[in-house]
Symmetry: C2
Subunit: 196 residues, 2 copies
């Protein structure tokens, strides 16, 4: 069978360059608008900013949620990896957990409106909820388990509910000077601890 000895001769047509270019343009435009006016920037504006029609957005990102995920994927992954790095570091498990939570909160608070979309039924944002939690629940669970093993944290909290709680606390965290999510999160961390 002398059919496939060449180094991957494009058995499949290669991706069109305009498609690649547009995807990049869309990601850039979305990142720009999300930063400037929050994650709720209308699809039409993103398309316009990228110099592209709405149809094109939907070919690349079937849903608004997918676009949001694509924009933040890197940072979410990084947050997940931070967990392993902290666990390998010198800090106590509880300290590691705290540092991780603070980083997570910073991330959410920085992105206007992101926290709103984290709940399971946020309109059609299911994909977003899924991606975030698929990546972050294990990361958080590792930290939580370590702290639990060290007897530094209560046993009766799951990573999922803890993450959702922290996420919820971040909702609306930038619209209102009277409300600072971090203070509430710290209260939760305090309640979580077994010390004192």
């Amino acid at each position: 069978m002398p059919t496939d000895d060449a180094p991957t001769p494009p058995a499949t047509r290669r991706r069109r360059t305009d498609a690649q270019r547009n995807e990049q343009a869309l990601l850039a435009a979305a990142a720009r608008l999300f930063a400037a006016s929050g994650v709720n920037a209308p699809i039409r504006e993103i398309a316009a900013d990228a110099g592209v029609g709405v149809g094109t957005i939907y070919r690349h990102f079937p849903t608004r949620a997918d676009l949001v995920v694509a924009v933040y994927r890197y940072q979410v992954d990084e947050c997940a990896e931070l967990s392993t790095r902290l666990l390998a570091g010198p800090a106590s498990p509880e300290a590691a957990l705290h540092q991780w939570v603070w980083a997570f909160v910073d991330f959410l608070v920085t992105k206007h409106g992101l926290a709103d979309l984290l709940r399971p039924d946020s309109d059609n944002m299911g994909a977003l909820h899924d991606y975030f939690l698929d990546r972050l629940v294990p990361a958080c669970a590792a930290l939580l388990d370590a702290a639990r093993s060290a007897g530094e944290v209560r046993a009766d909290v799951t990573a999922y509910e803890f993450l959702r709680g922290v996420g919820n606390l971040c909702i609306g965290g930038t619209d209102d000077a009277r409300y600072d999510p971090r203070r509430l999160v710290d209260l939760v961390l305090l309640g979580l601890g077994t010390d004192r």
Copy 2:
């Protein structure tokens, strides 16, 4: 000036009976739909259920938020009054605070989607946010102050941020068996305490 000796002769025309009837019908329909499918039931459905046109809804309730407030006003007021009752009761200030918070959480969790609307900028729900907080912040502050005076609670939390935090924790509390707001709220209460 012998002009106003009669016992309030309708100096002003009395309210039309159809208007009164419709307002009641609307409140009933809204309560019904809110209970059945959450606070996000579309205006048109409420109007249809009440046997009334959409225009009529807006004459009685200038905004969706006003309708929601009207439906829940009684329960919010009751929640506010619970505060005074608890403070006058035999429980310690901290215990009173806890009981009040649990009642508040029960209220929010029971009403699908209500907690979502509590943040300041929830689309056009400003009226709702205002009413809830105008009533509940003082109630909560009283409990918090009492517990603080008794040295049972940390000093560095305001009633506003505490309420918003608890409210946020209740978001999405019924859509997902894996997330129970009450556990997180209890963690906050634990962190708030000075005991142990």
